[in-house]
């Protein structure tokens, strides 16, 4: 019995080995022409290819950032192979094309495998990774490649840009520290089928910190969490946070830490009504909208305790309908002094 199993196993192995013929397609240097060896191999396997139940073609595709010349040569070679299949009248319904990211060591650029079973005629493409105009590494599905290539990911760097973005530093009833803020725009209002993942560089000091990606909802004026909170991963040039963008808009990478807060009260002078108020700080970037009281004479905030300087910016109005903006500086000293005294800070406007 044991012998019988061994014989059957060996026979099966041999059949399998015979059935899975692999042809490595080699090309002449800098040309799409097959080498003599490849031409010979293809003529030997021509009948087998014709009768094969399934053919799997594996192609190592150059990345989007590869030289144009190299890319052009690859697509010429790919075309040449397909022409060969057409000339040999091979049934394309039995061929699958599996595109792999270039880089597998010792793997041939193009190889053909004859398999003893039927295959689904399909084109399998890996996620494409490339660097965009802003030098940000992007990964996306092949279908989204064109969209990802045209999309813009602009990182806000100046305080002015941050303020003008009108986003809040308040999320889930907590104050958040925005480390990176981006404006992502897909062309012509299009959206990707599966999202585009950008690798956002983080400093080594942030390697052990956890970050969350948030998307700004411009209608509800609030943040929405995207994906899970995670640590940056180590890459070739440092640490990266993977942010997946599924639609245009403002995105923020925020540090996942809680901060102690102090209540702040801003009071307007007599005969002035507050119609809007916000608290701002430059380092770290903070912008929190205050709650204006019903009588519009004062506003309350929850501000982080350990921030050096704030600016309270308010839109004021008088009874004649004149509107203006007032700014009041509030230092940490003032806050602590008032906090210790009355647990409240009176940030009066300049008279």
């Amino acid at each position: 019995m044991k012998k019988l199993i061994a014989v059957l196993f060996c026979a099966g192995y041999l059949i399998n080995a015979q059935a899975n013929s692999t042809i490595t397609i080699e090309f002449q240097k800098d040309s799409e022409k097959f080498t003599e060896g490849t031409v010979r191999a293809l003529s030997i396997y021509a009948e087998e290819l014709y009768l094969a139940k399934g053919i799997k073609v594996t192609l190592q595709e150059p990345s989007r950032n590869a030289e144009a010349k190299k890319q052009a040569l690859f697509y010429k070679r790919e075309k040449e192979l397909k022409e060969f299949f057409k000339e040999e009248h091979l049934n394309f319904e039995r061929i699958s094309f599996n595109y792999e990211q270039e880089g597998k060591k010792k793997a041939p650029v193009i190889s053909i495998e004859i398999v003893p079973h039927a295959v689904v005629a399909e084109i399998i493409r890996p996620d494409s990774t490339f660097t965009n105009k802003n030098k940000i590494a992007l990964t996306c599905k092949y279908n989204d490649l064109e969209l990802a290539n045209e999309m813009s990911v602009v990182k806000f760097s100046s305080q002015e840009e941050l303020y003008n973005s009108h986003v809040s530093s308040f999320f889930d009833n907590k104050i958040i520290f925005i480390r990176d803020l981006f404006r992502v725009e897909f062309p012509e209002g299009k959206i990707p089928t599966s999202g585009v993942t950008a690798e956002i560089v983080q400093g080594a000091e942030n390697a052990k910190k956890k970050f969350t990606l948030l998307h700004w909802n411009n209608i509800n004026k609030e943040w929405t969490k995207i994906g899970a909170t995670k640590k940056p991963t180590k890459g070739a040039r440092g640490y990266y946070f993977s942010a997946t963008f599924e639609e245009s808009g403002l995105y923020a990478i925020v540090e996942n830490k809680s901060t102690s807060v102090v209540p702040v009260v801003a009071k307007a002078k007599k005969d002035v009504a507050i119609t809007y108020i916000e608290i701002l700080s430059t380092e770290p970037f903070l912008r929190i909208e205050g709650n204006v009281s019903d009588n519009q004479r004062e506003a309350t905030f929850k501000a982080p305790k350990n921030v050096e300087n704030y600016v309270i910016r308010a839109v004021c109005k008088d009874a004649q309908g004149t509107e203006w903006i007032e700014e009041t500086k509030v230092s940490k000293k003032t806050i602590i002094r008032y906090f210790q005294k009355s647990k409240k800070i009176n940030a009066y406007f300049n008279n």
Binding site: N220, S293, D294, A319
Partner: protein, 241 residues
């Protein structure tokens, strides 16, 4: 030609039927709310309006089953408690509707208040926090109130009262008054035997004539000089009949 006319007529009828078969929900802007409705509950207490909407439900399926209305929650406000009320045209008050509550729903991570409506009418979501305090207006001795209207846009409150007994003082049941509150009043002058309408913002009355205590009770003293100044800054009006 007759066939074409008949077809067009039927098509028109179908279009017409389709138009009225669809429920319609329209948000009321504050100007519209203030012009047509007050914001008092059945006890005469002032309520702050979160949002108001005019609902039309055609006969048939929609009237039988009703519709759900989603109103976005105020961002970053936790535990927002709201009352769902219906405007009673005959009593000119917002009444509670038996068995109707405000629930919440999250769609695509966005939070909404959800209310169910199965009758045509005007509905409103109001903050479940009755306004405290009041504002009392006192006129100069020879002047009398015949009507007062008070509205404050930031909290969406509106009050209107006809004063047949022509008193010298009148109260509005709202304490958190802003200098931007709008007051419209018909004032009868005994001496001139004439009624004039004055419209102004509270802040136009000098702060020395506006006194607020800790309980949010504000006293506003209106002198003839104030009314003359208001008259100069705007075109005086005669009250609508």
């Amino acid at each position: 030609m007759k066939t074409i006319t008949t077809t067009l007529f039927l098509f028109g009828l179908l279009l017409g039927a389709n138009a009225t078969d669809t429920p319609d929900v329209r948000y009321l802007k504050f100007e519209e709310l203030a012009a047509n409705f007050n914001t008092l509950n059945s006890k005469g207490q002032m309520l702050e309006c979160h949002s108001a909407f005019d609902v039309f439900l055609p006969e048939g399926k929609f009237a039988a089953e009703g519709i759900d209305i989603l109103v976005p929650e105020t961002p970053n406000v936790r535990g927002e408690k709201l009352l769902f009320l219906k405007w009673n045209y005959s009593e000119k008050k917002w009444n509670t509707i038996k068995g109707k509550k405000v629930s919440s729903k999250t769609i695509n991570k966005k939070k909404y208040h959800l209310v169910h409506v199965n009758e045509t009418g005007v509905y409103g979501l109001f903050n479940d926090d009755r306004a405290k305090g009041e504002i009392k207006f006192v006129l100069a001795p020879s002047l009398r109130f015949s009507k007062i209207e008070f509205s404050q846009e930031n909290v969406q409150v509106n009050f209107e009262k006809q004063l047949f007994e022509k008193p010298r003082t009148t109260e509005v049941p709202f304490g958190s008054v802003s200098i931007l509150s709008e007051i419209k009043m018909d004032v009868y002058s005994k001496r001139e035997n004439k009624t004039t309408t004055y419209q102004y913002r509270l802040g136009e009355i000098p702060s020395s004539h506006r006194l607020t205590n800790k309980n949010n009770h504000t006293l506003v003293l209106i002198t003839k000089k104030d009314l003359e100044r208001i008259n100069r800054s705007s075109t005086p009006q005669t009250p609508a009949p």
